[in-house]
Symmetry: C3
Subunit: 277 residues, 3 copies
């Protein structure tokens, strides 16, 4: 663990770049948390565009600064548009991220995600550890969209999970973000573990989807690994800052409030990140 | 009215069972309140799964502990998936609930609901009194999704409405929940009236949909009538506890906060339920 | 600028009419902000109906007191239903409003909006100044759904933009609402500029969509130009009253709270409107 190797100033600089650039972030995401996702992009001064009609998404992706797609509550129409936009992003060299939500409990989504990654070569693949394992080719079968107990990243499973995340990054030539109480991020060369966050984040829906579009907003900077780190850390620390809410709905309000107002000092003060070689 | 016949401890025990079991609740519901619905399931420690693609819903229902479906803002795709999941739930003996929202103002929904009830035999049918009457076969024509004035359960209409709710329960072999200022719940044998709640609940959208998934979460216990009672009471009392909010948006935040933090003592203190023979 | 020519009492009277009438407002709108839109209608005592199935929308529109449609996050199914409802509203002489969101960045939406306006003759056309210009036939190409910098209504562009808004009103025989820091409203005869609002309104998603259904709710009064003015002023002043929130999520809660509780005195005290001849 060599914390000094992380250039926090470079990571934090992405925040200011977004404020200045007001990047257009094309999001094709599920309707469960689509409102929260648009608000997250706006909260950090990005400009969200949630278009999903197959006749308009290609041009909209081409005019965007980053693309975020998400497999939650998937439909045929949205799968079609996600593939069109993913291909266009790849052709135009626009950075992209896919949230592979549900690939561990739905063969439909797993097959689609593998096809998307193969054809569109996203900059970042994000999922919980069961989903990452499923994409990696392991025989994972979850009940619902949450991580299986045995896949959770803990002290016992840490090394094995880092190996899988790193291997998937090498295999796909993407940066891989495995979310959980312990997050693992790897581009195949460098790997990082992040321990920010709190259990309240799992008591509201859509925090994973919000993280996906938050990373996408930072990804407009084209600094892939640092965008993944920054988004993960901002979400985790904003969660920590939101604790003590009266109930789950107030926690969600606090969370978005904190994402919209978090300061560099909060991040420097609370970040829990380590490099793994 | 014999209040002593209600075993409140048995009803309240369902809450703890859900906290321990973290049941997977498959919800196929409208997109107006889908975010709130997922958050309600999470707020009482259930695990929501909002999948609605016809190619994945059958397997997801089969792995779930309860199924909640809802006719709000209906689409062809969602009708198809609701029917697939309803049939699978029936085959697998997984408890299910249908919110028949809009059957009193849309023949499309009425025909579909009748077909669903016939083929899928849901554990619980939930609607306002106009919707319950429409399903029962009375010639009801509403303007919008709200109850017609003449159908509202009041002191004058109470006995007639109880008769209809009980008769529909007997006819369908389901438990029927008629919501309103006075709620009526019947499994055809026992009937109950509940007078919790407040008028502010009708000033925000989706409280009916939230009640549907709240009952579904408790329904994972397979104690059908008590789940219906518990969900109705928790929603009503949480509404009462949320009064005095600055405006309608704060009321909704309070409501979900209170559902996520309500204690057994709050329920015992405020419950207004009577048995009707 | 002749402020005395505006009959504020006539405008404010619409609010009480809505409280008494509880009008049914049929909204076919995007799913990003559909929950907020339903809550806005309810917050001012309207009754929202968000149905969008092509088999039920015609009858539902016919039973409604106003129709609001919106092109955000458009789908084939929703375009089909919007056209059916728009035609029915026109036939039944039910007032209607279209939010032409995205017509400046999507040819699909531009073509559809032009066709809708031609066939359904909406009472009100609402958009930002880039969208209004695009509908007027100017060659506008935006990046995303926000107004282009050069189209923003400012002291320099004011006269030109008023000319376009008024000309579009005359051309379409509709009232046109151009939203922005400076709003322009014209029915082709009288034109108004409104300077209420605050920059925080652009840091959350859906304020334009909420304004659309707010105007629709007032439009049930059939006083077209005054409904447009009232909705625009209520949204702007409620935004001003919501300033100082902890972050963007709290601002949104404040906004809806204030729309649900705003008083005539608040409006009389803060309104910034001028007539332009």
């Amino acid at each position: 663990m060599k914390e000094k190797e992380i250039d926090l100033n470079k990571i934090l600089a992405i925040r200011n770049k977004v404020i200045l650039d007001k990047p257009l972030i094309h999001c094709i995401t599920n309707h469960i948390s689509i409102n929260d996702c648009a608000n997250i992009v706006l909260s950090v001064y990005g400009q969200p565009m949630m278009a999903e009609h197959y006749k308009e998404v290609s041009d909209i992706t081409a005019s965007s600064d980053a693309l975020a797609v998400n497999l939650g509550n998937i439909t045929d129409d949205r799968m079609k548009s996600i593939m069109i936009s993913g291909k266009r992003a790849y052709e135009e060299k626009i950075p992209s991220i896919i949230d592979i939500v549900g690939v561990s409990c739905s063969k439909l989504r797993l097959d689609f995600a593998i096809d998307f990654i193969d054809k569109c070569k996203p900059s970042i693949i994000k999922g919980n550890m069961s989903e990452i394992k499923a994409i990696f080719g392991l025989d994972i079968k979850s009940k619902g969209i949450d991580v299986n107990d045995e896949d959770i990243t803990s002290d016992e499973t840490l090394n094995n999970n880092i190996f899988i995340v790193k291997s998937l990054a090498l295999k796909t030539n993407s940066t891989v973000v495995s979310t959980g109480a312990i997050d693992i991020i790897s581009d195949g060369k460098e790997s990082y573990i992040i321990k920010n966050g709190c259990k309240e984040l799992s008591r509201i829906t859509g925090t994973g989807c919000m993280l996906n579009v938050l990373i996408a907003t930072y990804l407009s900077s084209r600094d892939i690994i640092n965008s993944a780190i920054l988004g993960t850390v901002v979400m985790g620390i904003s969660g920590e800052l939101s604790k003590g809410a009266k109930g789950t709905a107030s926690f969600k309000i606090n969370l978005i409030d904190n994402i919209s107002t978090i300061k560099d000092e909060d991040i420097l003060d609370k970040i829990k990140i380590s490099v793994v070689k």
